[in-house]
């Protein structure tokens, strides 16, 4: 355990031979001044190709992915990643196209991006879009810049200083707003687990630049007052930003644009099936209403007489948030998924995602406390609070690993103590939902009968399970060792 590539190999080995130089070789010191030449080589390993393949194959087997089984991280939408998407992104015309080769030589790529933008606008009920943001949080930051730009143009920037944020929001929301200079005003949730309307009203004024909403929220509940919330914000001249992380719950049947939303980001790596890759690449396109279109990043993709081109002539644009046009390879995957699912498929996605979540909730709320025990959307929360003196949710999660399933998100949202946030997605079978439910039920029983087994979990199982026992986070934080 713990072996890195640096522990493998031998000085004279190599993973790849390079071709011989086919032009006359000059002395390097003739080409680069001596003072700018590297004196000591970086300490990279010298490893043969077979050792590399075996090392990374071994590492892969110490991981658990969607391909291994249910992966019910709340608000992460760990659905199956269709392999056709991978093949399409690797087509030479996509994978080996250069971003600066010119519009004329990029018609297929531009058309794909243009059409994907149209589909996403239609799915969200929005008017215009940028595909540049590389992840959801990057989209949030872009959204904050759009709001800022608008108020700069209307000369209200000095007073529009606040972004309202429900306390159930993802941590990226407050971080994005604060990075772009807004003051974050938390709005509490009420007993229903929804935005507390009275508290919201108390913070309404002309200093409000906007609100960031996740809907359904991170408790898995749809904000039933959404129309009133968006109206209240609009009445004071603010914008409604919609964090689309949980779009899987409503895709194909309800649209943020129809709720009065002004800006929405989509997580293509959640709702639109592109793989999470161990933490990216994602993609976070941002769609807006007409009023905000002039501020979208450049270049925009435009279509004229059947030809596609990149348009940089947008004087009011916020500029650019990515070196080029965003995570194009991820866009290809999402485009493939949308074309394969069509309207009917997307509607089936939300139907089954919400059905699966409610089925698990119904089964599990008999054994764990469900603080909001009512019909949920695509995810729901449970808590272990009050179930045991000594056992915490962390122990429950670690014990689930012994049962061969991936735990849910834990300790988020922050407003529920000892919380588990469970999102099964539509791509798990009923049999697998039942296995997951039975594992959690068994752990609830063990919590009473044999708590020690939870505390000691996980018990290392080498194949597609934990390759180590419980790891010491405290040690890692106190004396950080961050490189070999």
């Amino acid at each position: 355990m713990g072996t890195t590539i640096f522990d493998i190999g031998e000085e004279s080995r190599t993973g790849l031979r390079l071709p011989a130089l086919d032009v006359p070789e000059k002395n390097v010191t003739e080409l680069i001044p001596v003072g700018l030449i590297r004196k000591e080589d970086p300490k990279l390993p010298q490893v043969s190709q077979v050792e590399i393949v075996r090392h990374y194959t071994k590492l892969s087997r110490m991981n658990y992915g969607v391909d291994n089984g249910i992966y019910p991280l709340g608000s992460c939408t760990m659905k199956y990643n269709p392999r056709i998407n991978e093949d399409m992104a690797r087509l030479p015309g996509f994978a080996h196209a250069h971003p600066l080769q010119g519009d004329k030589l990029s018609q297929g790529a531009l058309r794909l991006m243009y059409e994907l933008g149209e589909y996403l606008c239609a799915i969200g009920g929005m008017d215009a879009i940028t595909l540049q943001p590389a992840a959801g949080a990057h989209g949030e930051l872009t959204g904050m810049l759009l709001i800022k730009k608008h108020f700069e143009r209307t000369k209200e920037l000095h007073k529009r200083t606040k972004i309202l944020l429900p306390d159930s929001a993802h941590g990226t929301n407050p971080a994005s707003a604060a990075t772009m200079g807004f003051e974050v005003v938390p709005i509490p949730s009420d007993g229903r687990g929804l935005v507390d309307l009275e508290a919201l009203k108390a913070h309404l004024s002309e200093s409000v630049a906007g609100i960031m909403l996740t809907n359904p929220n991170t408790l898995g509940l749809f904000e039933t007052d959404i129309l009133e919330i968006t109206k209240l914000i609009h009445d004071v001249g603010g914008f409604v930003y919609y964090d689309g992380a949980n779009l899987n719950a409503i895709v194909g049947r309800a649209r943020p644009g129809d709720m009065g939303v002004d800006i929405v980001h989509y997580n293509l790596h959640k709702t639109f099936s592109t793989p999470h890759g161990g933490g990216g690449p994602g993609s976070g396109p941002v769609a807006v209403v007409k009023k905000l279109e002039p501020y979208l990043p450049v270049p925009r993709i435009v279509k004229e007489n059947g030809k596609y081109s990149l348009d940089y002539e947008r004087p009011h644009s916020i500029g650019r948030v990515h070196s080029f046009y965003g995570n194009f390879g991820v866009l290809v995957r999402a485009y493939t998924y949308i074309r394969m699912m069509g309207d009917a498929g997307l509607r089936a996605v939300s139907a089954n995602a919400v059905l699966n979540a409610n089925y698990l909730r119904a089964r599990l709320s008999k054994f764990y406390k469900a603080p909001y025990d009512r019909i949920c959307m695509h995810e729901f929360v449970l808590t272990t609070k009050g179930m045991s003196e000594e056992i915490r949710t962390l122990d429950v999660a670690k014990r689930l690993i012994d049962y061969g399933v991936h735990p849910s998100s834990i300790y988020f949202p922050l407003i529920v103590p000892e919380v588990m946030m469970i999102e099964p997605t539509e791509t798990v079978s009923k049999e697998e939902l039942d296995r997951f439910a039975e594992a959690l039920i068994a752990v609830a029983r063990e919590m009473k009968e044999n708590p020690q087994v939870l505390k000691e979990a996980p018990h290392a199982v080498p194949v597609y399970g934990a390759s180590v026992r419980r790891l010491d986070d405290v040690r890692a934080a106190k004396e950080p060792i961050l490189r070999g």
């Binding site: 300790y411 986070d473 405290v474 890692a476 934080a477 106190k478």
Partner: protein, 127 residues
């Protein structure tokens, strides 16, 4: 657990102990217990001026960050450098060796706004 009677407390779980007109400040046993293993303390600079209930330091566990508020207004005259290498002192001895800073209080009357040990025990008992 009984809390030192001669200390005063905030609702945010800081304690303050008056020593020759200066206030030694730390976080309570209850606070360290809730946070779990403390792995890092961000100390203020000596000479920093603070007002009552202003954030002046942070303590971190593995998965949480907690702001520490000044129980009294004044100037930071000393900080507990030992915490830089031994943050666990806060867990091991929250009311003694795990102190965080000493504040030269500018308005000693603010002490009256703080909780007594009995009141603090009642405050956390209610949680």
């Amino acid at each position: 657990m009984t809390y030192p009677r001669e200390y005063r407390y905030t609702k945010e779980h800081e304690w303050v102990k008056l020593e020759n007109g200066k206030a030694r400040v730390g976080i309570t046993h209850h606070a360290q217990h809730e946070l779990g293993d403390i792995v890092y303390v961000e100390l203020p600079k000596v000479g920093t001026k603070v007002t009552q209930m202003q954030e002046f330091a942070t303590v971190e566990s593995v998965k949480a960050v907690s702001p520490i508020y000044a129980p009294l207004s004044g100037e930071i005259v000393e900080v507990n450098r030992e915490l830089e290498t031994k943050p666990e002192l806060i867990n091991q001895s929250p009311h003694e060796q795990g102190w965080i800073a000493i504040i030269a209080a500018s308005n000693i009357n603010e002490l009256d706004t703080l909780l007594t040990a009995e009141q603090y025990e009642q405050h956390i008992g209610g949680h």
